[in-house]
């Protein structure tokens, strides 16, 4: 191809890089990896936006943030206005700016991405949320109650993860009295127990929760939906609607020999010990975790990346991510994979564990892996791995299994009227999020199986809109 005949139409300004802790420094601490844009960097990046008439980015966003709108205000120097736009549809902008897979959502749809690099929408969202909170402290703009409602409307949310927080944020801004019941002792669900501090500081989550408290949302910890309180009891107590956002649950194991050896963890256990229990600060905090020297993580999603990078930070000499396909098929967010590799995590691709081997004390000493090759594409469109028969041992003292979860049975068993899907998750009306029990809604991982923070938020928003439409009126829906 003759390069000279083509008019180069690359955007003049390159995508503004994100300031980060250097890999060799951050691989040994739990501080946030990415540091966030300064005002000048945010202004420069915002100036790259083309302000499309029909913005594709917005269609790519599960909660339909008015992306050109908030960027336009940022460009005009109206940071507070930009924050107000974000909050119109997103109750957790500081969280989303950090953990959304932007490359397959807003940024993946950005027109600039066709020829060059897309606008760094996630980084701008984070900048707006963080800088607003830094200046306004607890008095974050929490939206306006549109009017006093004709009667008190009460909604209960079970679980305090991203889907429930979205419901709470959306409805409380309309004047609905929302009560959130959380089973653990800390609020935020997966944002607290799952996603590590270095990727999503717990203070950021606390800040978002505090903003909702300021809106009148009531939070109750140590309340287990299905044990301490039942769904039908909430309806009997006069809650107009109940939203179930209890997340996924039971970690999956592979049912291969040696999975109960000491040193074999589910990613949920490993991350919960470190994140919720602050095991990285043991013995200052009481929850222990094994500080493995040679660690293997099984799986290729974000949870696997989080576990591997956590193991490094706990002092591991080697950390391998073992994945049965190749790097290209890994479902993890690109940035997480790149960060992990920069920090020194190694990949052992096209490998699948056959058994874990232990010593006489039932402590893990190695894993036997089988080499895989890629076959034909499967239902997900990814080429599926096939065993080759070639096996080898990887010496490890810690194994972390991050291959997904199954539905948590606690709430489902105590609510037998709930209709479940074939896979055992709650079945909902895709338009409204309503379950088979009238007035009871559900969203997030307990409906879809393990997915992303933002898709749970999208489900929360859908349910909140239909609750608002049903109990307040169609005018309230936005």
């Amino acid at each position: 191809m003759n390069e000279k005949t083509k008019t180069p139409k690359k955007p003049k300004t390159p995508r503004t890089p994100m300031p980060e802790q250097p890999p060799f420094v951050r691989a040994r601490n739990f501080l946030e990896v990415t540091l966030g844009y300064a005002a000048e960097q945010a202004a420069l990046e915002a100036s790259r936006c083309l302000q499309c008439k029909t913005p594709l980015c917005r269609k790519g966003c599960p909660v339909e943030i008015d992306i050109p709108g908030f960027i336009a205000r940022l460009r005009a120097g109206d940071r507070d206005g930009a924050y107000a736009v974000l909050r119109q549809t997103n109750s957790l902008p500081a969280v989303c700016g950090r953990v959304c897979p932007q490359e397959v959502q807003c940024e993946g749809s950005c027109i600039l991405g066709k020829k060059g690099e897309p606008v760094a929408i996630g980084r701008l969202e984070r900048y707006v949320a963080d800088s607003f909170a830094a200046e306004n402290g607890c008095m974050q703009l929490t939206g306006q109650a549109t009017c006093s409602l004709p009667r008190e409307i009460r909604v209960a949310c079970i679980g305090s993860g991203p889907s429930s927080l979205t419901v709470a944020g959306y409805l409380s801004a309309l004047g609905v009295k929302v009560t959130v019941f959380e089973a653990l002792h800390e609020l935020g669900g997966v944002l607290i127990y799952g996603i590590p501090e270095f990727r999503l500081p717990k203070d950021v989550v606390r800040r978002e929760v505090d903003a909702m408290r300021a809106l009148g949302v009531e939070f109750k910890t140590n309340w287990v939906g299905g044990r301490t309180i039942l769904v039908r009891e909430l309806l009997d107590q006069g809650f107009d609607a109940v939203f179930i956002g209890v997340g996924a649950g039971l970690p999956r194991f592979m049912d291969i020999p040696g999975e109960s050896l000491i040193g074999v963890y589910s990613a949920n256990e490993y991350l919960t010990r470190v994140n919720l229990g602050r095991a990285y600060a043991f013995p200052e905090y009481d929850t222990p975790v094994t500080r493995g020297r040679h660690v293997a993580v099984f799986g290729g999603g974000n949870v696997a990346m989080d576990a591997a990078r956590t193991a490094l930070r706990l002092g591991a000499e080697s950390v391998h991510i073992v994945y049965r396909r190749t790097k290209g098929e890994m479902p993890a967010r690109r940035e997480e994979l790149e960060h992990a590799l920069e920090e020194g995590v190694k990949l052992e691709i096209l490998a699948n564990p056959l058994r874990y081997n232990g010593d006489e004390n039932r402590r893990l000493v190695s894993v036997t892996l089988e080499r895989q090759k890629l076959g034909e594409p499967d239902a997900s469109g990814r080429r599926s791995p096939a065993p080759t028969g070639e096996t080898f041992d990887l010496p490890i003292d810690t194994a972390i299994i991050a291959i997904g979860t199954r539905p948590n049975p606690i709430l489902l068993e105590s609510t037998p009227e709930l209709k479940l899907s074939k896979r055992g998750y709650i079945e909902v009306d895709p338009e409204t999020g309503e379950t088979s029990i009238p007035g009871v809604y559900a969203g997030g991982d307990i409906v879809t199986g393990a997915a992303t923070v933002i898709s749970a938020m999208g489900a929360g928003r859908r349910a909140a809109r239909s609750i608002a439409g049903k109990f307040i009126g169609e005018d309230a829906v936005r």
Binding site: H185, G249, L250, I262, P288
Partner: protein, 277 residues
């Protein structure tokens, strides 16, 4: 919501403590076999404790614990009128109680307290309950009076013979199984070797045997899988599938190993705590 300690008693000084805790929602819902997860302070770990009794009218639950490490030692420092930071529950599947002619409930050490609640459940279902309890000596026996208030018989075994049979609960149990053909179920709660021994004794009699597993737990609500155990060759989670399982199907050796997985860390934590206090 504060979880206030309304009563505190040293059952065995310096070793075993009973607390009656204000927790109305849990007291209302708790059934025999349920447990709670609690946390003493904001640096504390989540620890599971079986509910030994409940009083829904007063809105309280009773917990009994052995001081074995930092977390239980810390809990033991709390006095009447003080609060436990977090109490979450009731967790686990309640005991499956069927109409039986007679049931033997075996308790060892601190497990006697947990067994008490289950024995009470069987009694309330109209089952004749024979309690068999054991400890090293008579001063270490718990809940004798409470059990005596509804069990027609409380059989005792002590290692030193200071009360009842000199020897193990399993010997008392075997003798009773040989003599009493009405026994349709045996429930055992106590140290792992005791539960394992009970299951071994009951096996030839073909009597259904239920054991309550005290696995290590983190969340206690089915998220982490730390409490997994092998029952009948399958991985089960003690927090949501249990904590009670068929004693003839549990892999006790694995349970023992898994219970010891943090021994070094537990010792480090406890030593540091003792040095400070």
């Amino acid at each position: 919501m504060p979880y206030r300690i309304v009563k505190r008693k040293d059952l065995i000084p310096g070793q075993t403590v009973l607390m009656v805790v204000d927790a109305p929602m849990i007291a209302e819902k708790a059934r025999p076999g349920n447990f709670v997860i609690l946390r003493v302070n904001d640096h504390g770990e989540r620890i599971p404790l079986t509910i030994a009794d409940r009083d829904p009218a007063a809105g309280t639950i009773t917990i009994v614990f052995l001081v074995v490490g930092k977390s239980t030692a810390l809990l033991a420092t709390l006095q009447e009128g003080e609060d436990i930071l977090d109490v979450c529950g009731p967790l686990g599947r309640p005991t499956h109680i069927e109409k039986r002619k007679a049931v033997i409930c075996v308790g060892g050490g601190t497990g006697i307290a947990a067994m008490h609640h289950i024995a009470k459940g069987h009694h309330e279902a109209g089952n004749r309950v024979v309690a068999v309890i054991g400890a090293r000596n008579k001063d270490l026996l718990l809940f004798c009076d409470e059990l005596g208030s509804f069990c027609p018989e409380v059989l005792v075994a002590t290692d030193d013979g200071s009360r009842g049979h000199k020897g193990f609960v399993t010997e008392v149990l075997r003798k009773r199984l040989e003599e009493d053909k009405d026994i349709e179920e045996v429930v055992a709660i106590g140290p792992v070797p005791m539960m394992e021994a009970v299951a071994k004794v009951t096996k030839p009699f073909g009597v259904k045997t239920t054991v309550s597993l005290n696995s290590i737990m983190v969340d206690g609500i089915g998220m982490c899988g730390a409490c997994r155990c092998t029952v009948d060759g399958h991985v089960r989670f003690a927090c949501v599938d249990g904590p009670e399982f068929d004693g003839h199907a549990v892999d006790f050796q694995e349970l023992r190993m898994r219970l010891g997985q943090f021994r070094c860390e537990e010792k480090q934590s406890f030593d540091q705590f003792k040095a400070r206090s």
